[in-house]
């Protein structure tokens, strides 16, 4: 290419537009949630109490912390501190893994209690509770899927920082992966109260 074009603001804007699509993607599940909640307010409270609030709260704090380290990584690279950047992005990945491990134990416990989509135990609890758990599994599952994608992306970015492909002069890829990661956090900010804290 004879003519190198660079537009970091445009790249960030493109990422934001992609995040708008992610918001709408999750909104489909929140739409189903809101309709079901208006239909089964009592059953949702009952079902919500079956979720482990400690797992939810700890995971919230873990994700918030991972967002913090990711935001700090940008500051670090802007200040030219490559080693610090790598430590910060790596800790984001670490926190993402902690989140997923928590999720694994949480889901194992629930599945151990016979609560999973299509289970007989769930059918006995009635349609309201069933709907709650189906929505919970798919929302948390889709969110978990995004955690995996985001962590992978940050992993790639960390390697690129190490290799000197992402530099203090040019780091829009790091910014964009951070934007994606914050979206994952944002979704959880809504999932947590709506699923774990319904009375």
């Amino acid at each position: 290419m004879s003519h190198e074009h660079r537009d970091d603001t445009g790249a960030r804007f493109g990422m934001w537009v992609f995040l708008y699509t992610e918001i709408i993607l999750f909104s489909g599940l929140f739409l189903l949630y809101s309709v079901a909640l208006s239909k089964f307010p009592h059953e949702f409270g009952v079902a919500s109490h079956k979720l482990n609030i400690y797992f939810g709260a700890i995971n919230t704090l873990v994700l918030l912390a991972s967002s913090l380290t990711m935001a700090m990584a940008i500051t670090a690279i802007q200040r030219g501190k490559i080693k610090q950047t790598i430590v910060l992005t790596s800790s984001t990945i670490g926190l993402a893994i902690v989140f997923l491990i928590n999720k694994f134990f949480e889901w194992s416990a629930e599945i151990g209690h016979g609560i999973y989509p299509g289970s007989e135990h769930l059918a006995e609890l009635g349609p309201g509770v069933t709907q709650f758990f189906n929505l919970y599994y798919f929302t948390a599952g889709l969110h978990g899927f995004h955690v995996i994608i985001g962590a992978t992306l940050i992993g790639v970015v960390t390697v690129l920082v190490k290799k000197g492909k992402i530099t203090p002069e040019r780091y829009v890829l790091l910014e964009n992966s951070a934007l994606y990661w914050h979206l994952v956090d944002l979704v959880w900010i809504f999932v947590f109260p709506l699923y774990y804290l319904i009375l």
Partner: protein
């Protein structure tokens, strides 16, 4: 094009950590609020706190406050569309 506008000045670590602490406090607050029975208001309080937390994440972690108006307009458009999708579905659900 706009060669000088590529990058924003760094956000200070202190600002970021304070934001995180505020987010933690709000998380505690939403748990505490959920233990008080306020009827239907519970959901709205929870959503209000979640919206506040989102504003902090979007404004400071995602640095939207430093971006141009276009970014903010886009987010508004997405949220308005989101509100239309959910709100207008309720025209059906509530009156069925």
């Amino acid at each position: 094009m706009h060669e000088t506008e590529h990058q924003h000045p760094p956000v200070r670590y202190r600002t970021l950590v304070f934001t995180w602490v505020a987010l933690g406090i709000l998380t505690g607050l939403t748990i505490a609020a959920s233990r008080i029975n306020m009827g239907a208001a519970n959901v709205w309080v929870a959503l209000g706190i979640a919206a506040t937390k989102s504003c902090l994440v979007i404004g400071i972690f995602m640095n939207l406050r430093r971006e141009s108006r276009l970014f903010k307009f886009g987010l508004m458009a997405a949220l308005v569309v989101l509100a239309i999708f959910i709100g207008m579905t309720f025209i059906d659900v509530l009156y069925r």
